[in-house]
Symmetry: C2
Subunit: 146 residues, 2 copies
């Protein structure tokens, strides 16, 4: 059973799926509270920048630097280079990743930059992405620039 | 005199400034045509993800992978880690940077990843950012996560 915050990210992924979107979700946690949540918006907004983590950060709004420094960002899938870059820009010190079986992003860059990375390999996260990719390979490739 | 595409990015930066925003602009060029343009939207949209390059990519819309592979992105300022990550995600092979005197982003990561990086050191780009940072140090620090 995923922890409560990863569960929040999974709920976001499922919300995306129910909207016809790519099922990747994220929550931003500070001081044991969710201060932002979001999910991939490629289909819903026709967006190329609203990946799950990006949409979560955008929804969290303009936070002070010292808030980001106390945050953990939860994401159902290993962060791509763009989302990794956003985490590094705002110096978020900790990332919990639902899974990196279906896609491995720029985790090494996170670790090399001193970010604490925890990969859970949550079975539900893996199942959601496996099913989506199998049914929508073109969309999925578009989302990761392939 | 900046080339026509860098001029387009500078026009975007000035548009941002005229809206009360952070003056960083960008254009995306494919086949000698501008296919997207944008500018930083931190103030205008209350956005933490719409940096100049990100707003430009968003405005260009959903492009096919092989379009991005033929693009050059022009930006008035050295790309931060987030914008660098977006360039790497979509495998844009070439970046023209107006200046890196007032801020140096993740150019080394771009170069190490095989991206062609051209830093112009355009006097107008430098002047615009110097004036903005001097007048708005807090806003500027917020934009780069400091």
């Amino acid at each position: 059973m995923a922890d409560i915050f990863l569960r929040g990210a999974i709920e976001e992924a499922k919300r995306g799926l129910s909207e016809g979107g790519i099922p990747i979700g994220s929550v931003l946690v500070c001081d044991n509270q969710i201060i932002g949540r979001g999910h991939n918006q490629r289909i819903q907004k026709g967006s190329v920048i609203h990946h799950g983590e990006m949409n979560c950060l955008e929804n969290a709004g303009r936070q002070k630097a010292d808030v980001y420094r106390q945050c953990t960002i939860y994401t159902t899938l290993s962060p791509c280079p763009m989302c990794t870059g956003a985490i590094l820009l705002y110096r978020i010190p900790s990332v919990v990743i639902g899974e990196n079986v279906t896609f491995k992003g720029a985790e090494d860059l996170l670790r090399d930059s001193g970010v604490n990375v925890d990969v859970v390999q949550d079975p539900e996260c893996i199942q959601i992405m496996r099913a989506f990719i199998a049914a929508n390979p073109g969309l999925w490739n578009e989302d990761i620039g392939v």
